[in-house]
Subunit: 395 residues, 2 copies
Amino acid sequence: MTKGLELKSIEGGICAPVGFKAAAVACGLKRSGELDLCLMAADNRCAAAGTFTTNAFKAAPVLVTTRHLEGGHLRAAVVNAGNANACTGERGLRDAESMAGIAARELGIEAQEVAVASTGVIGRYLEMEKIEEGIVEAARRLDAGGGGEAARAIMTTDTRPKEVALDCGGFTLGGMAKGAGMIKPDMATMLAFLTTDAQVETALLSRALREVVEKTFNRITVDGCTSTNDMVLCMAGGASGYRPSEEELKTCLLEACSRLARAIVLDGEGATRFVTVRVYGAADGGEAKTAAMAVADSPLVKTAVFGGDPNWGRVAQAVGAALKGIDPHEVCVDICGIRAMEKGAPAEPFGDIEAAVAGREVVFEVGLGRGGSEAEVWTCDLSYDYVRINAEYHT
Amino acid sequence: MTKGLELKSIEGGICAPVGFKAAAVACGLKRSGELDLCLMAADNRCAAAGTFTTNAFKAAPVLVTTRHLEGGHLRAAVVNAGNANACTGERGLRDAESMAGIAARELGIEAQEVAVASTGVIGRYLEMEKIEEGIVEAARRLDAGGGGEAARAIMTTDTRPKEVALDCGGFTLGGMAKGAGMIKPDMATMLAFLTTDAQVETALLSRALREVVEKTFNRITVDGCTSTNDMVLCMAGGASGYRPSEEELKTCLLEACSRLARAIVLDGEGATRFVTVRVYGAADGGEAKTAAMAVADSPLVKTAVFGGDPNWGRVAQAVGAALKGIDPHEVCVDICGIRAMEKGAPAEPFGDIEAAVAGREVVFEVGLGRGGSEAEVWTCDLSYDYVRINAEYHT
């Protein structure tokens, strides 16, 4: 953390910074009748930056928002859940543009100043009448107290909203995120929206966001599946009058994004335990991340964690399959701080690992003995409920 | 198939070819008290070939058998289930050598002529007293009718033995396999043993086996996890006096390995449906296999299949995440012969895919529109029982 910078958790989410309003409505996209559309708007023109999925099948809202961000500024964002508007071709693109256009009309701004995001079922066209009614109503109800309902409106299989708000000294940073499945960020993942009343130029905001996303959202995985709709957006309105240093901005963004990323994993579909995989002693950072992701994505490791079984052999199996060239006689595995494998063979003496993995948090540390690089990845276990949620989540 | 070559299914497994005997015993490695060790022996010195896991953590028996195969000939194989003898360091290597040595002593042959294989829990040392007693008893009971009990002895989470026997005209080919989880062959997978009474040189046998394994065992995946113990062994004793052409040998091996590979997928942990993923129109074979494996390994696709949901959006998501550079507007997806996605958007008209995926076999075909290469991969769905089996399978 930056020396002298004190971060304090405060109530709220995206409307905690001065100058942001939001509202959410149920316009009929979710069969459950729950909130499914939200609008967030800034009093001022904001410097804005975003990171997006690397999936080749980028959803229409991802393509439209990427284009709208080219100017480096935004005033509003409109987000719907229940339908991802992905794999929907030209018609999907027109629908996403319409969403921005309707919001712009209601707010009296340019369509180019509106970001669009969608999440839900892939391969269905949006019901644009419902969307239009929803945006009109949300625009009428915009309020500085609307952050909480916005965080609920973007949920799909999430069981709880995910919000963060930080008093960063001279300015405030707020955020919300959604995501529980199809989570393996490769650049960003899921949807996350960050707001701040700090005064920040677009170039700095963009650089800081990219760097922080790489350390947070891009280090989590629930099921190894990179979504078509991933998007992290950050808008800086400047109402606080405070101009943070690059270091300060990054420190605050890192704290906020870390909390949202952890919240996504803790709410991973069917998750019962939070798992940290740390790989050290790698030849380089890429190798470390490859190995850590291989362990975190292994269904055998994840089901063992669900079963409370300290199955370090499955950890070794995953690392050895991912890095076929390593020397097994150099590899060590610790589970929750207890040595399980020592240079490729069972550690002696063999500690009481069973008790260690009975808790809500499990830590795997894998030493490769090849160099000085490391990487950390967060994931959850694989339970019956993951199967139930994804077998029942029908198109 | 080679012109004129008629393959006929016959009763039996590894002892169907002339000159092979086997026996299985329960020596106490499986807690259940079931058969857990088998010995197979040939009357003649056999040309022998094998393919092995590419996992860096190669189990001790994999290393020992690789070394014993250097001479190109084998007389026997000893296999245990219940303990993989993997991640067991120097002591594990000595134990695997001892298994071969004990079998050789009992059979009056050289240790170098004995292959060793193990399957089961990773990271435990073998109980060598039980192993020795087991081998001694099995050697006394060797019989040409012992193939069936050998196929049962190598099972772990398998629910049924997997055998094949083919009358290939002038000669006979037999085989058995085990495998239900930790199945993503990367060279071979699981354990499979093939025997034949054909007269074949080692070089030809080796070449044919490698080629066939690439088209069969290396095209299946249950959970995307490449085991530490994968091994496919083929022994040719020559008792039939028939010398097949390379083409004949490959045709017969392909048929036998295809059947065993399909049997492994059908018995995949918790499997309720058999899934074929075919990718065509790829720029090259590697790209086709990468895309097909990505679909076959996606937990989102596999749970949708379990739920009977024709969720083609998840197929597109998996392909797009694996091949980030492709043009989504060229991609088509068919499910069980019905067009679901046409050039990146929902197909119109949209057929009755729900009914098609209700059966025991589901076929996904993905066209990339990039070239003339294709690949086919076999897998199964992801059900509650996969989680149960792997959460309860304790170390």
